[in-house]
């Protein structure tokens, strides 16, 4: 076996590496994909045992009680207080106050505010005017729009309610995910009577997501190792498109192999914990407290709390 003649045909390049003012750009698509992959990797990392202060079933029930209370609440003050309390709790439990605040409130406004923004205008939520924006074009007035486009007090209230509800709910979910490993949560789902098929699908989804996240970031490293120059946006889109297919195929193959390895070791759809958990008095107290807070949240507006 003889290597092609073009390999090593020229003298080795030993001079200093050249520099330029042209920067190697990472495309928006690539950044987004990496961001999602990084988010999944971090999100799916097993939570440290030291933070698992509640029994998984109790943690799940407490979270559900809070989520129901949050979704029924119409009180901005109560929702804001709960959001602050949840952030403080995350800090106390060692999840990192700053990190939790960023994960919850750094992301929530991006999505929920985009949806809630139209609600602040008098077009969708009539009410007392807070700020006048612009005069509405005549043709829009003719089809029923108000003559002046303005922000209304009630509109701000509606949008604020939506953003706070989403933020508080995400805080609950982040706290639950940060203090209970995903595998324990899945077993808790089973123990609470959720159908086995659902738990199995959730377990598979979790594994696919994890495999996908690792595959994407590893492939990106391999790409960096061979990428020489910035490619134009069209080529980048074509590249990302073809890679997505490869990633999907590979993660499916890997996840199937993992599933086969699990079956080979007797997996029948249930995660059996090595250290079975026991419901302690503090777990019961936590659930009762969460139900109490949920009930307060749901009735706060009726009690006159704005």
């Amino acid at each position: 076996m003889s290597l092609p003649t073009w390999i090593g045909a020229g003298p080795p390049r030993t001079g200093p590496l050249p520099t330029s003012k042209v920067r190697l750009r990472t495309s928006f698509v690539e950044k987004t994909l990496l961001g999602i992959s990084d988010f999944l990797r971090r999100g799916l990392e097993e939570a440290p045992e030291r933070a698992a202060i509640l029994e998984p079933r109790a943690a799940l029930l407490a979270a559900l009680a809070l989520l129901v209370g949050i979704s029924l609440s119409h009180s901005l003050v109560a929702l804001a207080l709960v959001a602050v309390a949840l952030a403080a709790l995350a800090g106390l439990l060692g999840l990192g106050l700053g990190r939790t605040l960023w994960r919850v409130w750094g992301v929530v406004p991006l999505f929920s505010a985009a949806i809630a923004l139209p609600a602040v205008l008098n077009v969708s939520t009539p009410g007392p005017t807070l700020v006048e924006l612009v005069a509405t074009p005549a043709w829009l007035v003719r089809i029923g729009w108000p003559p002046v486009l303005s922000v209304t007090t009630s509109g701000v209230g509606v949008a604020g309610l939506l953003v706070l509800r989403v933020g508080a709910s995400v805080s609950v979910a982040a706290l639950l995910a940060g203090t209970t490993p995903p595998t324990r949560l899945l077993s808790a789902l089973g123990a609470l009577g959720i159908p086995r098929a659902f738990v199995l699908v959730a377990a598979l989804t979790l594994r696919y997501a994890r495999t996908l996240a690792f595959t994407v970031s590893d492939m990106h490293l391999a790409l960096l190792s061979r990428r020489v120059r910035t490619v134009d946006a069209k080529a980048e889109r074509a590249f990302v498109g073809s890679r997505m297919g490869v990633v999907l195929q590979r993660s499916r193959a890997t996840a199937e192999e993992v599933h086969m390895a699990m079956l080979a070791r007797g997996f029948r759809g249930d995660y059996v914990p090595l250290f079975p958990t026991r419901v302690r008095p503090r777990d019961v107290l936590a659930v009762l407290a969460a139900i109490g807070v949920g009930a307060l949240l749901a009735s706060a507006a009726r009690a006159g709390i704005p």
Binding site: L3, P4, R229
Partner: protein, 302 residues
């Protein structure tokens, strides 16, 4: 005539996170045309070191210079610097699955040349020539993930060679190869050496290290550089090899007498090079002095 310095590594440390050290205060140099083996047990930091040398990871402390200029995030985002660096250096990943990201084998091998500005026809010709060389021509249009482990390794190597790099960083290149492919790879490495390529090979296989390299860097399980010397020097120091956990104390019976000696794994040392009537086998904790557990004088290895 003195050879140019390719890499200059100074007090390099890298951590994957708190309490997750991968390398500790490692310093060495690699000269143009050298073949250097990075030896060490699993998890000692060999793969991390190669990724650092390829600029894929940034050091936690210390510095790495490539052809006299430090590898920094700033330089790696400089299109000219990065382009020339990637042109000169190629990394063969330990996991071939990671490396092969194109829809077909042919596209994967042609990826590098296309990146370097070769015309599609030239890139294809190069790729086909390499696939033919590695006996993979019939698999050119296959999806890489459907190949066997050995085939993936050969495609990954072909992908690296397609850009004709000056420096090859190879992470466990002999792993997952059948004996014939291993011999073929040894031939390829020999030819690359003859053509002046600089090669760094991470391996824990002492036999291959002895076959391919003149120099070896031995990493400890504490992620430090234990020794930097010729392969003969490093491989003859059994105390260091035991310390680095690349060989282990092997204990068994010869006839009725318990007998213990350092034992190597590898292409040339993968089998016992002594005859004995085995009655039982047992592994003992390695001893620092390299002596047999029985208190007898040091036994010849292999």
């Amino acid at each position: 005539m003195s050879r140019a310095k390719v890499f200059h590594v100074e007090h390099l440390s890298f951590d994957y996170g708190p309490d997750l050290p991968a390398l500790r205060d490692v310093s060495f140099e690699v000269l143009d045309g050298e073949t250097v083996c990075l030896l060490g047990a699993n998890g000692c930091g060999k793969s991390t070191l190669l990724r650092l040398l390829d600029g894929l990871l940034a050091p936690t402390a210390g510095r790495i210079e490539a052809w006299g200029s430090e590898i920094t995030k700033e330089r790696l985002s400089d299109e000219a610097w990065n382009g020339e660096f990637r042109r000169r250096v190629s990394l063969l990943f330990q996991d071939a699955d990671v490396q092969l990201f194109c829809p077909t084998v042919l596209e994967d091998v042609a990826f590098g040349p296309l990146q370097l500005g070769a015309s599609p026809a030239d890139a294809r010709a190069r790729a086909e020539e390499l696939l033919e060389l590695f006996g993979l021509a019939k698999l050119a249009m296959r999806v890489p993930s459907t190949l066997s482990g050995g085939q993936k390794r050969r495609v990954a190597l072909a992908s690296c060679l397609a850009t004709d790099p000056d420096v090859l960083l190879m992470d466990e290149p002999f792993a997952a190869l059948d004996p014939r492919s291993q011999v073929e790879l040894l031939e390829v490495l020999q030819q690359l050496q003859d053509r002046g390529k600089t090669i760094l090979i991470a391996t824990h296989d002492l036999g291959f290290a002895e076959e391919v390299a003149a120099r070896a860097l031995l990493l400890s399980e504490e992620h430090t550089l234990l020794v930097d010397g010729t392969v003969e020097e490093v491989l003859s120091d059994e105390r260091l090899l035991l310390q680095a956990n690349v060989i282990h104390e092997h204990s068994h019976r010869h006839g009725g007498i318990r007998h213990s000696h350092p034992h190597r794994h590898g292409a040339r040392h993968g089998t016992h090079h002594h005859t004995h009537g085995v009655q039982d086998h047992a592994h003992e904790e390695p001893r620092d002095d390299g002596h047999c557990g029985s208190g007898r004088p040091p036994c010849p290895s292999g």
